[in-house]
Symmetry: C2
């Protein structure tokens, strides 16, 4: 039986809508996803817990609620409603993959989501970022195109992580480096790629703690977008791994 909810004053709906805030996502270990594409991904990844929709849907889900437009608007974080929203649970972190992406103060949610998408596509199944980064922000989730459900996400200080995991070979991206990406041997069993802030790059503390640096060869521009730069590096690591 599908439960119907008409009023956006409904206490249950009010509670669910609190998941738009980082505080409640952290408290409950849950987050919201919006639109048919992400709902499909959530079903496949077996992380969907509750489903809210306006018009009839063509599949069964046990914890389902048919809601009014008003309720959907209350739950949604975008202007143009997609008519379907789900509550997902964060996956617990059980492993560290051999290839890891580390984000040192990357700020833009679109960049973080894009990097997640590329990370999954190139086999970097763990992302580490400082605790200030909210991996479950709605913009991050949208740009990740569902990658958020397929990847191991760790909030930890980058320096602490490096210190506790010395068996990885870390590479820091640094525009002042004199070694180009293509000149590096990237065939390590365990590799960590460190990307920095959109404006300032990787912080000096982190650069000092890592012995290898690299940059991508470019012309006529100061730098690439960090989502692009990180993706190109992960592409190179992945491609060389395939060829071995």
């Amino acid at each position: 039986m599908i439960i119907k909810i008409e009023s956006d004053k409904n206490e249950f709906i009010k509670d669910v809508s609190k998941l738009q805030q980082k505080k409640y996502r952290n408290l409950t270990n849950q987050y919201l996803v919006e639109g048919p594409h992400l709902i499909k991904e959530a079903l496949q990844a077996k992380v969907l817990k509750k489903l809210f929709f306006v018009n009839d849907i063509d599949f069964d889900f046990v914890d389902s609620y048919q809601v009014s437009e008003k309720v959907m608007k209350k739950l949604s974080s975008v202007e143009s409603l997609q008519g379907i929203i789900g509550v997902c649970e964060k996956k617990s972190q059980v492993f560290l993959s051999d290839k890891i992406l580390l984000l040192d103060n990357v700020q833009d949610p679109g960049n973080i989501g894009t990097l997640m998408r590329s990370a999954v596509a190139f086999g970097f199944n763990t992302i580490v970022a400082d605790s200030s980064v909210d991996f479950y922000n709605d913009k991050v989730i949208r740009s990740s195109q569902g990658a958020v459900m397929k990847i191991n996400l760790i909030n930890m200080n980058i320096l602490d992580f490096i210190e506790r995991n010395p068996d990885y070979r870390y590479f820091v991206t640094d525009l002042r480096s004199n070694i180009f990406l293509e000149d590096h041997d990237l065939s390590y069993n365990k590799i960590g790629i460190i990307l920095g802030n959109e404006g300032q790059g990787v912080s000096d503390d982190v650069i000092r703690s890592v012995s290898n640096s690299l940059k991508i060869r470019i012309q006529d521009m100061e730098s690439l977008n960090v989502g692009v730069a990180g993706s190109i590096i992960m592409y190179e690591v992945y491609k060389r791994g395939i060829k071995l």
Copy 2:
């Protein structure tokens, strides 16, 4: 002498603020850039025509206006004012570079700007897109990080462009292709890379008109962000050109 303008009702300011609209940008062949970084780029590229600022600046520019916060707000298209805005003129298109990027219905301004930035960085100094694409939209300009001033931008139907320029070797990105990027010989003197819409990819008409297709090898995701995919392909073409 620097002219001072206090009122946002000033007719001249009203006229300049119209450049926030595509219609007036097309009419006047001018566009707005915001923030010290882009103003510096505009000065270097010699495309700056007028300068508006709130606080004193440490360089001379002939057509300068010191304005109130209110006026700056009227001219600005972002929430957090950067205190400096310039009017730039579009560069006239005089040449076709040997490496060209073609956008077949790429929609997101952030993606278009990011691709512009990567295109300049990897020597793709011409971008072609349908007339619906506005290269001088403020979001495009921001993500281009000044690349918009360094590149040849052409609004033309993609199919028409291909027909009129048969001396280029065109490659279409297509998830259904069975040839991977790294398996292609990309060492052509004249090469055109065609990217498609974020959701639908390159249109069937364009795919049919081009004999070469390629895709990037990925796992566990349907696709990459189009800005990332295009940048990886341009990186490969550039890298192989450098090695020759």
